[in-house]
Symmetry: C2
Subunit: 345 residues, 2 copies
């Protein structure tokens, strides 16, 4: 059943996954469409975002935000149409980006974490990617923590994903040598030919560490960490003195159920940080940099319009397909920013 | 034989230690006193410094500076008297701090990394500690990377050492709650009663982690890392969102010959950094902050003179006793800044 004005389709967390999420961890139900009260508005989702951070919300491990309760709606941001408004500043028909919409057709909002979009916006789904949370993450983490200088070498993994693609393209605009890491030859070719990376390596190859050393003859000055795991292992020996590591995500280890076997490399990492005087800083974009969002949009919107920053989306049709698409995301099956189309307009 | 004007006693690195340094890794020899040429001066050591970083120089593992060659003079800073000068700006009789003197009576310098001291300075050996490299390290790391705010909780280990004592006392001056960690009841009592720490825990107790949690009821906002090992293990679960970790040393692991057994906690540390949005930054004081040295002295010198920052030295007599004192330093046997008195004046 597609979106309609009779019911609210919702995807709930049915149970907490152990390791990789499975279909049984999700539950699609039909609920009544909620009614907004005074000071609220009703939003109808058009495009819904799927992002790696949602895996963290499915767990009850200590994290930067509360886990989804079992039986709760899966969290996400969505591009929405205002259906009914009792809230100053928003009117029926407005196109908005809501960061609290959830995996469902309809949500009620008091305006918090909701931003109006240009109604003439050609590709509103870009508000979920290059012009939204992932693009903002790549931009601020690279520039504020990474502080790339012309001629320096920047390495980023998930190179064709919405964060990595922004990191790499912005680093090129800043005059850096950019080496990406991605899963498979097709993504690597795209990163070099379309996004303009200097090199892109396939992490599925056994000799990633050797290839990375060859691709970074002057070492690594900025490693933008959004995956963790074996990419970071390959990066560590190449880090230059005073290198910077912005950390925004660790998708490669989100499904892990236990720590890897030893030896314990924690002391080795600390020693490396000291000997190379490394700065490593983790951040959650709106938590660390929320007030910078308008200035980011002011720079990035024309870059996208002029083609200086290229955009690739992986579009999935229908809310009911969100769980399978999300499971694929954690395995790197998507190619470009993963978005779910819920309704045409 | 004490210092004299006939020979230059030198302590050389006889062989690279495996694990904890032993007496056989050092060799005391007598050499001719070197002759300074035009543009150089001859320095005679009065006070020599022993610091944990020297353990790193004894190894040939990749580090921030070149290892001492086997057969080379052990490196160190020293308070020296100028004996003979063919260098503008320095005259016979000047009291100076040389960061390149080495474990020996006499050294030749071209003036690089040599700073003139006030000839009226009451305790010149303080130039090796609270007013020198260790004090500068504690001060800049705490203030620039740690950015402590009033009411926040700051934790520092080696609390009665020259770095930790400065970190804790400056953090108190900035209005923080300060919890120290030190080896043994006597050091802990000193940190609380004399240095004014709010609490100080003995790392030799088995329940360090539980005690630290009790001493930090609001969690930890700044952990100044100068030891590594089990103190960091106890700190990790208590780190608050947006906490900061300046890293200047890892004395607890300098003698390690292999990585500890598993599991591998490197991914756990990365996950913690992300979930708490932690900033960790390692630094080598003169490399990162050299130009700030005069402004540090301007603040710290009156603090020491007025007793706002208290100073404790562990004085050892005679160059020939430097190796044994250094071996003790790595085991935490010193109480206060370890200095070796070479000559009276």
């Amino acid at each position: 059943m597609p979106q309609n004005n009779q019911v609210n389709r919702q995807i709930l967390l049915a149970s907490r996954p152990v390791g990789a999420p499975k279909a049984e961890n999700f539950n699609l139900i039909e609920s009544p469409i909620p009614k907004p009260e005074q000071g609220q508005m009703l939003l109808r989702a058009l495009w819904t975002s799927l992002d790696p951070y949602m895996r963290g919300r499915m767990s009850d491990a200590k994290s930067y935000s509360e886990p989804v309760p079992v039986g709760g709606v899966m969290p996400c941001g969505a591009v929405c149409r205002v259906e009914e408004s009792h809230l100053d500043g928003f009117a029926k028909g407005d196109l908005v980006m809501s960061y609290t919409a959830g995996w469902q057709d309809y949500s009620v909002s008091n305006g918090a974490m909701v931003f109006k979009l240009d109604p003439q916006m050609k590709n509103p789904s870009q508000a979920l990617g290059v012009l939204g949370m992932p693009g903002f993450t790549g931009y601020m983490g690279l520039l504020d923590i990474g502080q790339p200088k012309p001629g320096e070498t920047v390495v980023v993994a998930a190179a064709t994903g919405p964060v990595g693609a922004v990191v790499g393209q912005v680093a090129k605009l800043k005059g850096c040598r950019v080496v990406g890491v991605a899963g498979g030859a097709e993504k690597c070719a795209y990163a070099v030919k379309e996004l303009g990376f200097d090199a892109c390596l396939d992490h599925k190859q056994d000799d990633l560490a050797e290839q990375l050393a060859l691709a970074c003859p002057k070492g690594i000055d900025v490693y933008f960490e959004n995956v963790g795991g074996k990419v970071f292992d390959a990066v560590m020996p190449l880090l230059n003195p005073h290198s910077r590591i912005p950390v925004c995500g660790l998708i490669a280890q989100y499904n892990a159920t236990e720590l890897p076997p030893g030896p314990d490399r924690l002391p080795q990492l600390m020693r490396l940080m000291l000997s190379q005087r490394i700065r490593m800083q983790a951040f959650i974009i709106f938590d660390n940099y929320g007030p910078h969002y308008p200035e980011f949009l002011k720079v990035m919107t024309p870059w996208v319009a002029e083609g200086k920053v290229k955009v690739k989306e992986d579009q999935v049709d229908g809310l009911e397909n969100a769980p399978a698409a999300f499971m694929g995301l954690l395995e790197g099956k998507n190619f470009g920013k993963l978005v779910v189309k819920i309704a045409d307009s």
